[in-house]
């Protein structure tokens, strides 16, 4: 197969973190990272990785926000061991979307009861803005070169497992095939090679994709047995302009996961926020996340969700089914039943604990790949923001008077807290609150 000179080696991942892409692009398009879909997701240049870990059995499912011609997409993922055909699969994008919605930071609404009547509390929840619904688009070109240990047809993909004995084997292979390797990528690939890692390389088989009749590329999943429990971010930082976002969802048996070599910090949660934020929940969460990142000097991994999958309160989306969890790699559940996952924790051993981590990183603040450890911590946590709708009905009793007075204090606190977590101007917040009727009524 001949390759065009304009092929540019791009890295991104699961993309941002894990995949290196070879995309046909103008020679000056070294910028490397996918342009975000206009409005479907909150964080630009974000990628998603689902890790499922049982002992040393790991499944990694990679989704990126690459947009473009499927023919022009390739992935190169360092993997710790040789991969057999049966260890590779594709996952329906909607399954990851479901997990994303299920674990997303959420806004919860409460309506104050009539202060003059018996208490009736209603609650409902609204998930955070969906991260994305984009197509997974991988493209790859292969040629001669380093040891091709295996080649597989996997759904709409052609997959190769490469190894390189020499330190610069893979980079030479890429260079000899007219791939322009951005400065720094060769060193990173060399580091992985010396650590004995193989490379999982995939491209789209357009013919097969047509015959499958699936208009959308599906995320690839690789399963392997390895003591290594990490996400190789480094390829993604080589060519990056600015910081990138990576969301890591983990399904584990014993408890939440955390980074072993970076701080893991809970995202601010449980804050009461003004009503108008409902219409700008996306920008709100983005501002909150950015401020949290700045406070930790961009050197921390943030927990957005940590919860036993057997229940949720409130659920930001329908519970995941057994089938979906197994599809994402939680095979110890051992059931294809298309019913909501419910664990009989005592004795059945079918636990599934979900952790959602969000990391914003660049080469400077995250110089080494993130290594994870599975803790025994099963305490629940969610990024959760609360809205209390004041009672607007008629209320003439004595209790109503003190209720009205308490509202003033409440609104003031909401404005202060919102300003603190987002960095937004408090006076603007107060003005917007007034527009939605959140001013004290004496």
């Amino acid at each position: 197969m001949t390759l065009r000179l304009s092929n540019v080696f791009r890295s991104g991942v699961a993309a941002v973190a894990i995949l290196a892409n070879m995309a046909s692009a103008p020679a000056n398009a070294f910028c490397g990272f996918y342009v975000a879909q206009a409005d479907a997701k909150l964080f630009n240049q974000s990628s998603k990785v689902v890790l499922a870990r049982d002992g040393q059995q790991t499944a990694i499912t990679m989704a990126s926000d690459f947009e473009g011609d499927v023919k022009e997409f390739a992935v190169v993922v360092p993997v710790p061991t040789f991969i057999e055909r049966k260890q590779i699969g594709v996952v329906e994008p909607k399954t990851i979307e479901h997990l994303d919605k299920y674990t997303a930071p959420r806004l919860v609404e409460y309506h104050d009861a009539d202060p003059c009547a018996p208490v009736v509390v209603a609650a409902r929840s609204m998930p955070a803005a969906p991260m994305m619904a984009g197509a997974m688009q991988y493209r790859f070109r292969q040629d001669y070169g380093v040891t091709i240990e295996a080649s597989y047809d996997v759904a709409e993909y052609d997959v190769l497992i490469l190894s390189a004995q020499e330190s610069d084997g893979l980079t030479r292979w890429l260079t000899d095939n007219d791939y322009r390797i951005p400065q720094g990528a060769d060193a990173v690939l060399g580091s992985y090679i010396k650590q004995g890692m193989r490379f999982f390389v995939a491209k789209v088989n357009v013919e097969r994709m047509k015959s499958i009749g699936n208009g959308q590329l599906r995320p690839l999943q690789v399963r392997y047995q390895s003591a290594k429990f990490m996400v190789p971010l480094r390829l993604g930082t080589v060519n990056a302009k600015g910081a990138q976002d990576l969301i890591i969802y983990a399904l584990t048996k014993s408890g939440r996961i955390e980074a072993a070599n970076y701080r893991t910090v809970k995202i601010p949660s449980g804050i009461d926020i003004p009503l108008y934020v409902k219409n700008e929940f996306g920008p709100f969460y983005k501002a909150l996340f950015e401020r949290a990142v700045a406070r930790e000097n961009m050197q921390a991994v943030f927990v957005e969700y940590a919860w036993d999958m057997a229940w949720c309160d409130p659920c930001a989306a329908d519970p995941m089914s057994n089938k979906e969890l197994v599809e994402l790699g939680a095979r110890w559940i051992g059931s294809d039943d298309d019913v909501a996952f419910r664990t009989g924790r005592r004795g059945s051993g079918s636990d599934a604990f979900a952790t959602r981590l969000h990391v914003r990183y660049d080469a400077k603040t995250f110089p080494e790949d993130i290594v994870f450890i599975e803790t025994k911590d099963r305490s629940n946590f969610q990024g959760r923001y609360v809205q209390h709708h004041p009672w607007r009905g008629e209320a003439k009793c004595d209790a109503a008077k003190s209720y009205q007075e308490s509202l003033a204090t409440r609104f003031a606190k909401e404005a202060t807290d919102l300003a603190a977590v987002t960095g937004w101007s408090r006076s603007e917040i107060v003005a917007k609150m007034a527009q939605s009727g959140e001013t004290a009524v004496k």
Binding site: S167, A187, G190, S191, K194, Q195, S226, A227, K228, F229, S254, G255, E258, A259, A260, N261, Y262, R263, T264, V265, E296, Q299, A300, A363, K364, P367, E368, V371, I373, E374, T375, K376, D377, R378, S379
Partner: protein, 273 residues
């Protein structure tokens, strides 16, 4: 070190207590490393009680500084999903000092042993090596305390040997892999590494008596930890290496005899003269 040894220094354990208590206070007030108040209270109380009971049984004079240090170390390092596990850790740590003795010297660092034993036997225990972050100021603070502690206990050498050999291994690995310097530097800034270096491997009661013995021990622990971390992917590699190799101290003491360390008879000889 000599600058501090001109006068006879107070018991080094006062410095250790101050250092560990300060770190715990930082945890509760400024940066959350993961320590919890209830767990800390239980670990510290458990360590003190165990010491009292063991001293009563064995007839050893009671001194509460050491168990307090162990309790503080456990508070800072150990994480568990149930409070009783912190009590169990305290009992294992202090009990080991009385039970696992040879030649009048206890073999294992008490807190280190409790952590490793529970990691391998309990389903509810873990450690969070990443939680300390890599803030330079924290490292500096730990370093400052460490200078005081180590000069007072005259065990600065083993801390330096360990840190130097650990750093050398990380730098060699980075050079071999072609990794940027930022990677070993990031690994070396870890707060948990500093705590291990200054408050665990340098514990004067469980380190070899001789200077050469301490050098050999420090290098062996560094090499073993490196192997565990990078080849076996074991995360609490430092603790496991230290505890697994602790019996080596007895061998080194036999092969290279030297004066035994004692908290009670500060011996300025050979330090300032």
């Amino acid at each position: 070190m000599t600058a501090l040894s001109g006068r006879r220094l107070p018991d080094a354990r006062y410095f250790q207590l101050a250092a560990l208590a300060t770190l715990l206070a930082i945890n509760f007030a400024i940066i959350d490393f993961g320590a919890r108040p209830e767990a800390s209270v239980i670990a510290i109380a458990g360590a003190l009680l165990t010491q009292i009971v063991c001293c009563r049984i064995s007839g050893v004079p009671l001194d509460l500084k050491s168990p307090l240090i162990t309790g503080l170390s456990l508070s800072l390092l150990l994480r568990a999903d149930a409070l009783w596990l912190h009590a169990a850790a305290a009992v294992i740590a202090i009990g080991s000092k009385f039970v696992l003795r040879l030649d009048g010297k206890h073999v294992f660092n008490p807190a280190g042993l409790a952590i490793v034993v529970l990691l391998f036997t309990s389903k509810g225990v873990w450690i969070s090596p990443g939680q300390w972050g890599t803030e330079i100021w924290l490292g500096s603070l730990a370093g400052l305390f460490a200078i005081l502690v180590l000069s007072a206990s005259r065990r600065a050498d083993i801390a330096v040997y360990f840190f130097a050999s650990h750093a050398a291994l990380l730098l060699l690995r980075a050079a071999w892999l072609g990794d940027p310097l930022a990677i070993p530097l990031h690994q070396l800034q870890s707060g948990s590494l500093l705590i291990f270096t200054f408050f665990m491997i340098s514990d004067p009661r469980t380190t070899p008596d001789s200077h050469l013995g301490r050098l050999l021990f420090a290098v062996t622990v560094a090499v073993t930890a490196h192997y565990l971390a990078f080849f076996l992917q074991m995360r609490p590699a430092l603790y496991v290496a230290l505890i697994a190799l602790s019996p080596l101290t007895l061998v080194l003491d036999r092969l290279i005899p030297a004066a035994r360390f004692s908290w009670r008879s500060p011996n300025p000889q050979g330090v300032s003269t």
